[in-house]
């Protein structure tokens, strides 16, 4: 009996069969025919040399993919299978993607680097200082192989008493990133290690993928314990290198950077010891010297008094000498002044003036007498003249003067008298009285 299925029944059976036998799987291939319709989902064909399959990544899943999907890119997808009944087509629905192959890896690396840099994860201000002498070093790496052995050897050689705490992880492959993230968190939670070395040996870019993983980068950034990255590749940097607090070119170098050499520390400690000791010795010596010097300068006060006494004597001696010398000097000075003032005395001048005055006096008297003589002579002449003019001399020549009495008026006109008037006649020698008898007209 034939069983006849409807298309729908067939499709449903296929759907059940396929979808239940391919629950979650990983598939790798090259992207082609990539389309991004308005829905925001991404449709493309995943292919290899011989086959191809339709693939889709829905919008929510795209957020967790940290690189840009492009045609020609080799990717590994985490997917499940889906049968779309209306078209009878099957396709893979991917919810995670990782780049595969050098080109894609390189691209993803660059993209992530730029993004984290812009976000500030590499900023030096976030770099925590590496402790100078850690008590315990956390090492996140594979528990087997050369890396852990090198780290143990070098740290042990440099400073044999620093504890090492190992968080074993896979450093390669799909699960590595998650394990590293957890190991960093564990180290922080455990809290005993005061520095973390995250290490692996060298490898290809693909091998190093976990160290270029964004989750690992963020775990390093968020670690309170400082992280030293030590991925064994001298030239290339991983994202972990950029975000780590310190980058070591190799795991061995990390061990050297984190651990000081005990002998050197001991040497410098001893050096400090010696210097300190020397300082103290020198200081004590100088104090001793100072004490001796001060002791020498400390003197018996009686000696000081004797000295003072001597000094006093000396001083008084010098004082009296100085005093008499001073007096003598002043005496001489005084004498000098006296002689000087004598020279300046006005007596001489007075005498001189007096002499001049005397001369002047004599001159005046002489001149006066001379004048007087002149005047006498002139007077004598005048007296003779006067004499000749005198009425007496007229009288002597025979004239007389008649005066009317009683008035005594001299009569010059006969008309001024009348007969009978008394008159007095004055002669050269004596006179007489008379009476007017007759008037004779002139």
């Amino acid at each position: 009996m034939k069983e006849i299925l409807s298309v729908t029944e067939l499709t449903l059976r296929i759907k059940f069969l396929l979808e239940s036998s391919f629950e979650t799987f990983w598939v790798e291939g090259e992207i082609s025919n990539l389309r991004r319709p308005g829905s925001g989902h991404v449709y493309f064909t995943l292919k290899d040399e011989k086959s191809q399959v339709r693939a889709v990544i829905f919008r929510p899943a795209l957020k967790s993919i940290r690189f840009d999907l492009e045609d020609g890119m080799q990717v590994i997808l985490r997917a499940r299978l889906n049968v779309y009944e209306p078209r009878g087509e099957y396709q893979v629905i991917a919810d995670a993607a990782e780049p595969k192959g050098l080109g894609a890896l390189q691209k993803a690396f660059e993209q992530l680097k730029v993004r984290l840099q812009e976000e500030g994860l590499f900023d030096p201000v976030h770099k925590k200082p590496i402790p100078f002498l850690p008590r315990k070093i956390g090492v996140i790496t594979s528990p087997s192989g050369a890396v852990i052995r090198d780290i143990l050897t070098i740290t042990g050689r440099r400073f044999p008493s620093i504890d090492i705490l190992i968080a074993p992880v896979r450093v390669q492959g799909m699960e590595a990133s998650q394990e590293i993230v957890e190991a960093i968190a564990d180290m922080n939670a455990h809290g005993k290690a005061d520095v973390i070395i995250l290490a692996r040996g060298g490898g290809s870019l693909e091998d190093l993928a976990p160290f270029n993983d964004e989750r690992v980068a963020r775990a390093i950034f968020n670690s309170r314990v400082p992280v030293v990255s030590a991925v064994g590749h001298e030239i290339d940097f991983t994202i972990a290198d950029f975000v780590a607090d310190l980058r070591a070119p190799t795991p061995s170098a990390a061990a050297e950077l984190v651990v000081p050499i005990r002998r050197e520390l001991r040497d410098s400690l001893n050096d400090l010891w010696r210097r300190m000791d020397r300082c103290c010795a020198r200081l004590l010596e100088s104090v001793r010297e100072k004490t001796v010097l001060l002791g020498e300068r400390l003197r018996d006060p009686r000696r000081v008094i004797a000295d003072l006494r001597l000094g006093l004597d000396d001083c008084s001696g010098r004082l009296s000498t100085a005093l008499s010398a001073g007096i003598a000097a002043r005496k001489t000075g005084l004498q000098n002044l006296r002689a000087h003032i004598r020279l300046l005395s006005p007596a001489a001048k007075i005498r001189e003036r007096f002499f001049v005055l005397e001369n002047l006096h004599k001159n005046v008297v002489a001149a006066f007498l001379r004048n007087l003589e002149g005047l006498k002579k002139r007077l004598d002449g005048d007296v003779t003249v006067l004499d000749s003019l005198s009425p007496l001399s007229v009288l002597r020549r025979g004239y007389s003067i008649v005066k009317k009495l009683p008035e005594g008026v001299i009569i010059k006109d006969a008309a001024s008298v009348v007969p009978g008037d008394d008159v007095a006649v004055k002669l050269s020698l004596g006179g007489f009285r008379a009476k007017v008898v007759k008037i004779e007209e002139g």
Partner: protein, 78 residues
């Protein structure tokens, strides 16, 4: 864990020695500095000469963490 860190102690010691060497300290200060210097250098020496190290492996358990001594696996394991 409030004890002084080695580096800080060493730095302090260095500072003290430099100060003493500068000769700027009084006798009293010098003696105090010397005392402190001795203490610091003892502390540093102690840290330097601590006992042998432990190399352990960190294990997560349900209660938290556990550590056990680390034994290096054979080369064949590599």
């Amino acid at each position: 864990m409030a004890e002084e860190k080695f580096e800080e102690a060493l730095e302090k010691l260095e500072e003290i020695v430099k100060k003493m060497e500068s000769g700027d300290l009084t006798l009293d200060e010098s003696l105090k500095a010397f005392e402190e210097g001795i203490r610091l250098s003892r502390l540093c020496a102690q840290k330097i000469d601590e006992a042998e190290r432990r190399v352990e492996i960190l294990l997560k358990t349900q209660e938290g963490f556990d550590v056990k001594p680390f034994k290096e696996k054979d080369e064949s394991d590599h």
